[in-house]
């Protein structure tokens, strides 16, 4: 590991090249560059998540920690490491002080792996408007996680307003097992569903997205009814008047009940943030079903037909403070 104090972007690029030369070529083929925007206090959680995802995706990780934006003198500290705490990846941890935080892209741009897709992940605190953060502007895929925001439901609505193809949210990724189970329940049905009810927490973004997905696929109004638990506890699907399929989450199991048949039980693993991140990095093209579900939740239409690029909008917190 190389640690650089009060350094410049050029020095960091040189240090990375040196580490690559002496590090024995842990990763010669890079699939992507992951830019993680995090707070110092989240370092441990992010390391754990990235090391899981890194086992499946060879990548370069640029961890950007913005500190003391009001510090009088801008400064850059960096750690360059290959195959360390972040797993079998090339990692550059960048700590940016003062006004440099507003120009983070000036440090990260020369560090991106050549011609490989760039994914930016805000571990916490999603920017209200992604175009305000240059780290989101040059990314091909942007991953947010509204569940870590103070008001996740409001944040999810904001994600729809701010949506551009290539955005996804981890509250969508976590419901993939639910969606897979529902899709296979529908495989054997040859009549259309007449009503669907999601039971869970009506303000949980995942429950809302599941309902939104079902309603966009089935052209039905799908309500979220309050039930025990803080996420999704069950889904009821009615076909005709008397045939009702119920899927319910029971710890690590998913139980499907149908009239006249034995309950079927499927494993429902508890996935870590790393597993979810790994799923997210598997495909780097826009996720149209997510956009449809998000649109259905928030009443925003045609999210998929928005232009897929963002233009950086300059927003200076110092000016905003003055205006306030």
């Amino acid at each position: 590991m190389t640690t650089l104090w009060d350094t410049t972007g050029t020095e960091v690029v040189r240090a990375l090249a040196e580490e690559r030369g002496t590090g024995g070529g842990v990763t010669s083929g890079l699939a992507l560059t992951l830019v993680v925007v995090l707070d110092e206090k989240d370092t441990h959680d992010v390391e754990a998540a990235v090391s899981v995802a890194a086992a499946r995706h060879p990548m370069r990780v640029l961890a950007v920690i913005r500190r003391q934006i009001d510090a009088p003198v801008p400064r850059l500290d960096a750690e360059v490491e290959i195959g360390g705490r972040y797993g079998p990846v090339e990692t550059v941890v960048l700590r940016m002080y003062g006004r440099l935080a507003l120009h983070a892209e000036s440090v990260t741009l020369p560090l991106l792996a050549p011609d490989a897709p760039v994914v930016t992940w805000w571990y916490s605190e999603t920017p209200t408007v992604i175009a305000h953060d240059p780290l989101g502007v040059f990314a091909d895929r942007r991953i947010t996680n509204v569940i870590r925001d103070p008001d996740p439901s409001a944040s999810l609505r904001q994600r729809a307003i701010d949506y551009v193809p290539g955005d996804t949210d981890l509250t969508w990724t976590v419901i993939t097992p639910w969606r897979a189970a529902l899709a296979s329940a529908f495989d054997t049905m040859h009549t259309p569903a007449t009503s669907v009810l999601v039971k869970g927490n009506p303000v949980d973004p995942s429950a809302q997205l599941l309902a939104g997905w079902l309603s966009s696929c089935l052209n039905l109004y799908v309500p979220v009814e309050k039930a025990e638990g803080k996420y999704i506890s069950s889904v009821e699907v009615r076909f005709g008047d008397d045939y009702c399929v119920t899927l319910r989450n029971d710890g690590y199991k998913l139980i499907m009940s149908r009239p006249g048949q034995m309950d079927s039980i499927a494993p429902f693993p508890n996935r870590s943030t790393g597993d979810v991140l790994a799923e997210e990095l598997r495909r780097l093209d826009p996720d149209e079903p997510y956009a449809q579900a998000l649109g259905a939740v928030t009443g925003q239409h045609d999210l998929n037909s928005r232009p897929p690029t963002r233009v950086h909008i300059w927003k200076d917190p110092a000016l905003a403070d003055q205006e306030a």
Partner: protein
Amino acid sequence: MTADVSEQETLEPTTPAASAPLHAPAGTPAATVRNPLRDPRDRRLPRVPEPCALVVFGVTGDLARKKLLPAVYDLAHRGLLPPDFVLLGFARRDWGDGDFETVAKAAANQHARTAWDEDVWARLSGDIRFIPGSFDDDAAFDTLAKSLTEVSEAHGIKGNAAFYLSIPPALFPTVLQQMERTGMASEAAAGGWRRVVVEKPFGHDLPSALELNNLVDDVFGAEDVFRIDHYLGKETVQNLMALRFANQLFEPVWNANFVDSVQITMAEDVGIGGRAGFYDATGAARDVLQNHLLQLLALTAMEEPVEFTPEAIQVEKLKVLRAITLPSDLQTYAVRGQYDQGWQAGERAVAYTAEDGIPAGSTTETYAAVRLGIDTRRWAGVPFYMRTGKRLPRRVTEIAIVFKKAPHLPFSHTDTEELGHNQLVIRVQPDEGVTLKFGSKVPGSMMEVRDVSMDFLYGEAFTESSPEAYERLILDVLLGDSTLFPRNSEVEASWRVIDPLEQFWANHPPELYRAGEWGPKKADEMLARDGRTWRRP
């Protein structure tokens, strides 16, 4: 791929094939179209088969324990089995459900690729049944048929069942007759799909293959027979099609104008293991060349299929297999060998004829190398060198495309002394990946050109751990996707290549080679005669 298939399937109701079954094969892409929750753009959702039963004959055998049961567990663990799934095991053991479950659990636990999860097993074991009986016992088959009907109702599997014949081919007629007698093979009676899975060997020559194919196809219908060639389940083999047909870079040079020769190698470092009886009656050519190597050759040499569907790919593979020619001079260009005693990886290895269960005077080959040609415009004049053997220095399977040398080199002869042929090597196993070998200047003040290689390692650049071949193939059987399974016409075309070789070899004793070496001298001479050498994999 999903999009193409669904498009084709939606057309189907207007053009029904005469032999199409009356029931709707749900779970095949036709049902995917009807399911409003399945969107081809939604690539996060896994392909999950519809409710079904998997019936394994010979479930206590080696293959079932080492491959099938672990693969079923892995599928369950990855969430790729349908919520309604039943595994019925049939074998000649006096076991109850509980005894079998213990054995199956041990097998799955020991050989599974994914992490062990007691909950997943608990769920799966609830859906496992064991039916004891011998294959000529009518009562046992009646019990099996009854159990299948019972679980069909209780588990909602709607009559869908796949039968895996993990038994010696000699027993096929008995088992198939039993299935016919009890009506288990009939889709009309079951009200769902019925499929059968058979393992190699698919016969031991053309007449026996025809007989076997007719037998199985009569009972099940040719469309419902899945022949497992586990090589085709490997990620790199499927990648061969992506490499060729998804890229602009390779296809223009993939022909006799640019290719000098092709070498396809499947080497094993092990001896014959515990398969003495089977192996001595079979030999390397029938065991490996007839199926794995010719399938690799077909995928390497075939024309582009018009679409990525099982039928279209099969058509192209069959064209290549039928265009294969044997050299007229078999004496020189078809070499068979047998390993003698020697040293391998630091250990003493006995001669083939000294292995347990092999008669001392056996003339079965453990090594086969042959030069094949393909009579098409694309490949005319390009030799395809195929070789396979046991007790070779290392275990490796690869396809090497050796390109011609540049027609003119502006450098002096001494500058390019170390420059060989450009090569594109597809490493099937181990270290799955692709290597491109080309000339590059050696740093320094002199103009010197030397071969270097550029490497793509599958496990490194890719994003997902590739599933075990059996896992992928069992899933495809349950989904009804026959892309990766050779059809009977391919098997027959392959025997047409092998039979003349076997006839020729019948009167020629195999050449001896020392265990731990790259085959007999005569195989090296065969390439030397053409001015080439074997690539050391």
